[in-house]
């Protein structure tokens, strides 16, 4: 096809150097090293992911096994604690450590899937909106305004009230409630790139729109989207735990951090660890994601500023 030929002609060495996933990745790598806080955040996050996804499997725990002879065993460093359950047990004798790790698996899965889904929707709609403008832009952005008009938590719980709580529903609802955040960011970057000479040049030689979008527009949206996705992922983890806390997240007996907090709350008089430790798990996870997000944002700041204008 002639498009392909034109494309090949267009893609000279200079162009190759400017784009391509390999280039983006090595840039990202360099940025990560430039920003120590992002690096520390990433490191903690990797450790948390490893602990949540690998360790329970190695120990053969599912966090749901009850042991009514050993309820309310305190953590190992307290009197009466045992190495069999290093972080103690709850009112049903379930091991707090494995429940925290498995709960983390749920939270991270929800956050990752919701980001992937919201980002995909936002990327498509944001690109359409920014690239084509006109009525497409108006319709997408007005619908987006409606989503933004709802306080996030209220929107999610009213949909969950209707559909019922489940892991899949939770992911879909978070993504549907939040796509507009991504769409707006993508739209902004697309509009910023749209008028650049190299895009005009590509248009002038008859490169099809989809190729222009894929080759010239999308690579420029990666940086802001990456930062945004990190920040939003932290929020999803907090929201997921909040929804689970209210009984509107993943239904029990699956351990999630929110459910652990809701159950542990009943025993604050005699078992401090049940409500303290899952909360600390949430905090350190969010902290590491925030460190990563802040670091990435600072490292990419000049670029973000340019896109924002």
């Amino acid at each position: 096809m002639s498009h392909e030929q034109l494309d090949a002609a267009d893609a000279g060495p200079a162009y190759r150097r400017r784009s391509g996933p390999a280039r983006a990745w090595s840039a990202l790598h360099a940025l990560l090293l430039q920003s120590p806080s992002a690096f520390i955040g990433a490191l903690i996050l990797v450790l948390i992911v490893f602990a949540c996804f690998i360790v329970p499997a190695l120990l053969g725990q599912d966090g749901e096994a009850t042991d009514l002879l050993n309820t309310f065993v305190p953590p190992v460093w307290q009197e009466g604690g045992s190495w069999a359950t290093p972080l103690g047990t709850d009112h049903l004798g379930r091991d707090t450590l494995s429940r925290i790790l498995i709960g983390g698996r749920i939270s991270l899965t929800v956050a990752f899937c919701a980001v992937a889904m919201a980002l995909s929707i936002g990327l498509v709609l944001g690109t359409l909106s920014g690239f084509y403008g006109g009525w497409i832009d108006s319709v997408i952005m007005r619908v987006g305004d409606l989503f933004l008009a709802y306080p996030f938590m209220l929107l999610t719980i009213s949909v969950i009230a209707l559909l019922g709580p489940s892991l899949t529903n939770l992911i879909i609802i978070l993504a549907l409630a939040d796509w507009v955040t991504y769409a707006r960011t993508v739209r902004g970057s697309v509009i910023a790139v749209r008028g650049k000479e190299y895009v005009r040049a590509a248009e002038a030689i008859g490169t099809p729109n989809r190729t222009i979008i894929r080759r010239h527009i999308l690579p420029n949206t990666i940086a802001p989207i990456l930062v945004l996705a990190t920040v939003r992922a932290a929020n999803y983890i907090i929201w997921e735990s909040g929804l689970s806390f209210l009984g509107m997240g993943v239904p029990p007996p699956t351990p999630t951090w929110g459910i652990m907090l809701a159950e542990g709350r009943n025993y604050i008089l005699n078992a401090w660890w049940l409500v303290t430790l899952p909360g600390l798990a949430i905090m350190f996870t969010i902290l590491s994601v925030n460190l990563l997000g802040d670091g990435l944002r600072d490292a990419m700041d000049p670029r973000l500023k340019r896109v924002g204008k």
């Binding site: 209220l154 009213s158 303290t276 909360g279």
Partner: protein, 309 residues
């Protein structure tokens, strides 16, 4: 300025209509109330009669217009659970939620502004670093977990504050502080970064060069301009407060709309859920409208820029 106000007003109206349509659709999807209102052994004739009496056999558009007409007259239907008017149920609870939101906001601002200002002025010092690390922790904590931790410390251990309820000042301290903490972090960071930006501007240098005392340079020239983004942030955070109330009101047994919504979801009382969500969202939209108008008034540059878009 006028065109900006009109544009903003019509935009808000569009969003409010959108919210009403979404609420109506949710109510339609939540099922046929007739089944809940009649005994199990009701004849099909009785069902038909009731449907006709309630107007459920009218075309959807007619039903929607009736829904809007009723809503405008303050009639949001009746609770399926207690048969009380939904509007009365919500209005009864609304002052508690507004009070909590107000105190949280006040708490956040009172603490965040000094921290942000000091951090900006003492940039790079130990105070700055410590504040920003603390802010990062504040942003990483789920507020309901912080609430439970506070109950554990101040109520259970120290016995200083009551665990729940509303009425006295002592009872609002913990919920307001727990809800305000993430905003403290957010506002402090924002104040710091905008102030730093403003301090680098020419007019601040001019003010210093002409020998104005530092407190006038900061107070009159820098702070006033640094406040502008903060005003927008306050409006946006208000939505978080209304949504967050759902969880924090549950933790502290605070008798507000949030708890009403949670209870209504447990009871599958959809008219109450929808009514409350619709009302809170509209309050949020209107608050943001006011913030935007205030913003245009604070910074005339904005109204021109936005109106021309």
């Amino acid at each position: 300025m006028l065109s900006y106000v009109l544009k903003r007003l019509s935009h808000t109206l569009l969003v409010i209509v959108g919210i009403s349509i979404v609420s109506f659709v949710f109510l339609q999807l939540s099922g046929d109330p007739v089944g809940l209102m009649l005994p199990q052994d009701a004849t099909s004739q009785q069902i038909e009669d009731l449907r006709h009496k309630l107007g459920l056999d009218d075309p959807v558009v007619v039903q929607y217009l009736r829904f809007v007409g009723n809503a405008l007259r303050g009639d949001l239907g009746r609770s399926l659970f207690s048969n009380e008017p939904v509007a009365a149920l919500i209005l009864e609870r609304l002052p508690a939620t507004v009070e909590l939101a107000f105190f949280s906001m006040a708490f956040a601002l009172v603490i965040a502004l000094p921290i942000g200002i000091v951090s900006a002025l003492k940039r790079g010092t130990l105070i700055d670093t410590a504040s920003m690390v603390l802010a990062l922790f504040g942003l990483s904590m789920p507020h309901f977990w912080l609430g439970i931790m506070m109950i554990m410390l101040f109520s259970v251990q120290l016995g200083w504050l009551p665990t729940s309820g509303r009425g006295s000042f002592a009872q609002i301290i913990m919920p307001a502080a727990a809800m305000g903490i993430s905003m403290v972090a957010l506002f402090a960071r924002l104040t710091r970064s905008t102030l730093l930006e403003v301090l680098g501007q020419d007019y601040v240098r001019t003010a210093r060069a002409k020998g104005l005392p530092e407190y006038i340079v900061i107070g009159k020239h820098a702070l006033k301009n640094a406040m502008i983004p903060l005003v927008t942030m306050i409006g946006m955070e208000f939505g978080l407060l209304l949504g967050g109330a759902v969880i924090i009101e549950t933790v502290f047994a605070w008798p507000g709309v949030g708890r009403l919504i949670v209870q209504a979801i447990m009871d599958r009382d959809y008219p109450v859920v929808q009514g409350a969500v619709m009302l809170l969202s509209m309050i949020f939209v209107i608050v943001n409208l006011l913030v935007d108008l205030a913003y245009g008034w604070l910074d005339p540059d904005v109204s021109l820029r936005r109106a021309s878009k």
